[in-house]
Structure formats: structure tokens, C-alpha cells
Amino acid sequence: MRECKINYFLGNNLNECMSETILKSANSWIETKKKVVLATVIKTWGSSPCPIGSKMIVNEKGDFLGSVSGGCVEASIINECLELIKNKNSFKKIHFTVEDESAWSVGLACGGELTVYIEQIN
């Protein structure tokens, strides 16, 4: 892993994405009996675009809301979430770096790194 400064993100009041909209949508998907996985940015290094706490939700149909990287790794997150549902696992940590081939393929072009934690809500 590259030597790169870890970012600690201080609570971000202005990030609407972090709180209400996404969580309320997760709740309404659950109420319509959909399986929902919540993805949260838990660690970032360097110039990763979305701060710690940024969220995205994915349901078993592959519908998603929110963002964890501004578009770079979302496709990969959706696949991981669908796998999690399929394999009936409850959580997983996924790390993306620029050296990581999968990250290249999904294009983490910013030079940052991030860890995303995905968990089923049930």
C-alpha cells in the first residue's frame, strides 16, 4: 500500500447525502420488502472525493442511490452488494487503491484510496 496521509473527516453538517435522504429511502425500500445493502465510506487517503460517512444504498434489483466516490467505484460497489445479498452475508470491507487492478478498471482516477464498508440491513 502506498504511503499516503489518512484523512480523518470531521463531522460534516452540510452533507445531506450522509444522513436523511439516503437512510429514509433505505427504510422505504425495506418497507416494500426489498433487500437493502448500505455502503459507507469508512476510511480515505489522499484525494478521495467523498468524505468519510458518505453513503450509498443498493437493493437486490441493482437500484442504487447516493455515492461513495463521485462515480469511480460505484459499479464495483453495486456488484459487491448484489454478491453480499446472493451469498446471504451480512457485511464486508472493500478497499480501493490506484494500484489495485479492479480500481484501475473502474477508474479511481483521483489518486486517492478509500475503504467502503457494506452491510445488509435486516
Binding site: L10, G11, L14, N15, E20, N27, I42
Partner: protein
Amino acid sequence: MKTKILKEIIKRNSLKEDFAVLTNLSTGNSEIFNSKKSLGNEFKNYENKIKNFYNLKKNGIIDGTQIFILNYIKPVEVIIVGAVHIAQYLIDLLKNFNFIVTIIDPRKYFTTQQRFQKVKIINEWPNNALEKIKTNKNFALITLTHDPKIDDPALSYALKNKFFYIGALGSKKTHENRCKRLKEAGFAEKEIRSIHGPIGIKFGGKSTPEIALSIVAQLVSETNKILLNSKN
């Protein structure tokens, strides 16, 4: 995460409270934390470290643990005086930023439900309205009527109660006159200068949505300053 925890986060968010969500990344269990609550078994051993992150409103994996903490902070409150056309655009823009917005205007024909949906409106004179709200220094004031008898009492109130952001709509001339009145009312030069007037950052637009955007840009910039300062 348990559905129960998700519902609890949504509930506490709507109550606009400070709290944090702790997640044990090795077991997948989560728990809601605030200063009044004692910690469950999985988190008890790290109480001091958790409290340290919580008090600093720091988000992330706590050093030397597998615990992830995410803080939910009571949003900044914005009072808009004047239910005018710009206010309608302001509300649209502000809803993207997790502010709590209240509109005050004593003029009934402006504060109709049809013009303003899903926002708290107080149809009273600013003095009466502001007394009903428990304000503190995490409040912002935007005055839009440029009518001294409506704007001035709100500006005086905000200055006295040390709002972190005060902005007043009006031309340079209007603002000069406003400053004179506030001086006569006994406010110090420094206090008066803390009012952003004419309100908004300059980018050359004159249309209603452009003015609203310039106000929001200024408010967000000032809000980020206090959020950073309060945590350093």
C-alpha cells in the same frame, strides 16, 4: 445493521439531536451513542477513545480498534425574514445542505402555503417570532424584505444573540442607511461590519435565482468556517 438501528437513526435525525453511530467492523454490530447513553458490551472497553472522537465530532475508524464512528450533528439553523420570491429559490437550494430553515414574515399575503411548502413559516413580526425560537450562536439570519420596520428588529436580535452569519439584502445605499440606523440604535462599528451587506458573494448576476445562489454560496462558506473552527 439492524432495521431497528436504521429507524432509530432516522428518528433521532428528525429530532435534530447530536448522536453517533458506532459500528464494530469485525462483528458487523452497530449501536447508537450519545453522551447520556452507556455503551454496550462490544464497545465498553473503548469508552474513552469513543468519547474522545465523539467530543471532537471526528468520523472514522478509531485508532487501534475495529470501531467505526460516524457523528450526526444538529444542523445549523437558518432564519429567513421575508417570504419573498428570493426566499422560494433559497429554500430550494438550502434543502441540499442539511440546514433547518424557518421563514418569518408578518405579511399574510406572502406566507401562503401555496408559495411555501414543507418549510416552517411564522406569520408574525420578527421580534415576536424570534422570541419563540430558542436561538444560539449556531443560527444564521438572512433578511430579504429591505423594509426597515421588518428587517431591523431581526438584525438587532441576531447581532445581540451573536448569530454566526447575518446577511441583509439591499443595495449599497440601502445598506449604508441600515448601518446608520443600527449605529444610532447603539451597535458598535465592528458588530455592524459583521453583517454581510449587500448580501451574497459577487458573481455578477441580478436574476432572482442568481441572487439566491450567491446568498447560499456565502452562507455555506461561512458555515464551513465555523464548523472547522469549532472542532479545532
